[in-house]
């Protein structure tokens, strides 16, 4: 399965967690691989499992079944001690720039944390990292509350870069920022990727951002991978009805989306469904087989894959 150039691979990954009524499956049998140097966007709504996917790859949540490979090595069952060195190579830029920083620590403590050393001993590296993300290196002594949202996000990026990682999971890194700042951060991420040959797993719910940033897009629905392919193909020639719906819902710049045509009712009955396609209750193209059999991922053309009975 491992391609020579893939840096991260997951095979039949399944992650669930306990809720009051039993178990909720966050990631359901997902298989995909990420090539070195590319950006894979994971697109989905809240509850789709996209954040959990990122955390699972970083070994921050317990995996029920399946395997995770990093640079060809099976890291699924590695213990924390064994992960320490690997962790330097895989980092996270989290979503909320406010709860992601301990308010009692200074910027230098926050940025230097991945180096596992006293920040004053590695202050040069810290300053360097801050400069790379366009921040004034003198902010090392400041506290988080003194910085704006955009500045904080840059600090988090500086932190993610400091251990010279190869792979970074970005969890909605610009969702909480003003639009004018968002563009700055996205462009910065693109520049850094080229400079340092980084591989990104970019988690977002925003299609436009996904297309702007990513080489490939993966669509998650209720924990299942329903479509994956090159960005251009997924957006211009969407295969899965859910993908089509997502695209229709996005207002385009200079072009009014057809709001009037939009279906309002959106109730999800998939909880009462035990088998079949989880999109069945909302799908305008649902057939009998969809209720009974879960569709598998199949390749349509040119690395564009979809899990839908419309194509079987």
């Amino acid at each position: 399965m491992s391609h020579a150039t893939s840096i991260v691979e997951i095979e039949n990954l399944r992650v669930s967690y306990k809720v009051r009524e039993g178990k909720k499956i966050a990631i359901d049998n997902v298989t995909l691989s990420i090539t070195k140097g590319e950006t894979l966007a994971v697109l989905g709504e809240s509850g789709s499992g996209k954040t959990t996917l990122g955390l699972a790859i970083l070994k921050l949540v317990k995996v029920d079944e399946g395997k995770i490979y990093f640079k060809g090595n099976d890291i699924t069952n590695l213990k924390e001690k064994e992960m320490r060195e690997i962790r330097k190579l895989m980092q996270l830029v989290p979503q909320d720039p406010y709860s992601s920083m301990n308010p009692k620590l200074r910027i230098k403590d926050i940025v230097g944390e991945p180096l596992l050393a006293n920040p004053d001993h590695v202050i040069d590296k810290i300053r360097n990292s801050l400069e790379q993300v366009g921040l004034d290196p003198s902010i090392t002594e400041r506290y988080p509350y003194e910085l704006s949202g955009g500045q904080r996000q840059r600090v988090l990026i500086a932190r993610a870069l400091i251990s010279n990682p190869e792979f970074i999971v970005l969890d909605e890194p610009t969702s909480n920022l003003d639009v004018s700042i968002q563009a700055q951060i996205l462009n910065l991420l693109l520049d850094l990727q080229i400079q340092k040959n980084l591989t990104y797993l970019f988690i977002t719910h925003n299609i436009s951002v996904a297309k702007y940033m990513a080489d490939r897009i993966a669509i998650l629905y209720h924990g299942k991978l329903v479509e994956i392919g090159k960005s251009k193909n997924v957006i211009m020639k969407p295969l899965h009805p859910y993908t089509t719906k997502l695209i229709e819902a996005v207002p385009l710049n200079g072009y009014k989306a057809n709001i009037r045509e939009f279906e309002i009712s959106e109730i999800d009955d998939s909880k009462n469904q035990s088998k079949g396609c989880s999109y069945f209750s909302r799908c305008p193209f649902a057939k009998d087989i969809c209720k009974v059999k879960e569709p598998q991922l199949i390749t349509i053309d040119n690395d564009h894959m979809v899990a839908c009975h419309l194509y079987t």
């Binding site: 003003d178 639009v179 462009n187 299609i207 996005v250 207002p251 385009l252």
Partner: protein, 339 residues
Amino acid sequence: MSNKLLSLENLWITYYKGNKSAYAVRGVSLEVNYNQVVGIVGESGSGKSTLGHSIIGLLPNNAKVEKGKIIFEETDLAKINKSDFYRFRGKRGIFMIFQDPMTSLNPTIKVKEQLVEIIKNRPNENSVNTLSHWFIGKVNKSEIVRDEKQLIESLKKVGFRNPDEILDKYPHQLSGGERQRIMIAMAYLLKPKLLIADEPTTALDVITQAQVLKMLLELKEEYKSSIIFISHDITLVSQISDKVIVMYGGIVMEEASSEEILKNPLNPYTKGLVASIPNYFKGKGKISSIPGFPPNIFELPQGCPFNPRCNLAMSVCKSQLPKLKSIGESHSVACHLYS
């Protein structure tokens, strides 16, 4: 009779923090006609949210209208007492929906009771924290609906396939999208003349967002309500707005029809804003960003609030506030480049 439903005239609103104070809204004038959707777009520090709250009389304790008028159908809302405001809220008046409806719904009361309370004008003993207190106040004596069937109908209208189940739930048992639908259902029931929607879709996923937009559009078309749609997303706002107003640092930077503002933005800020939004329809090419950061109202620069970030800034921009000037039909811009 004039076509104007709401008219803000030279509005100045102050915020107090400790012993400091600053203007969040500086000399804003705008008009909303009957049956019109007006979008207000702005980022942090723009004053858009403050503006929205001031119209419905819900400014926090540390803010107040310093100067100017808020004329709603011939009454200046800026001059009336907080205790009298209820007369203008709710049924056939002004209604507001927020980004997170959780704070508008009392978590200890079932959905059904809360809706019933409002439509049948039966004030709840716990009414202090509920909608009826803040938005409806002492509603007009006439009932808004005759029976609960209308309640069910309105819930169906906002997309619930099983309204009976929903009525029986508590707010925390519903998702954000579901709660927002309930608020819109309330709007359908109240048929307000003016609905202020403050970032109603920011916390929602893309599909629900589109649905909310559609519902708002129906509110306008079926019930002839006017809507003030406040958001940071200019493309979103343009979807249903007749006209769009762009705010920055407390002032109106530009005002135009929704098509005009996207096709032909005049103010450098608006241009920057439009150019910085990733649009998947476009081909390759980087989005351009506006350098610098949105302002803190306690540290506003002299002159045009955007001047520190504007690559076309002239010396007059650093000293004088630009005034809104009309350029062509229904397009005005506040920028020294055009004065």
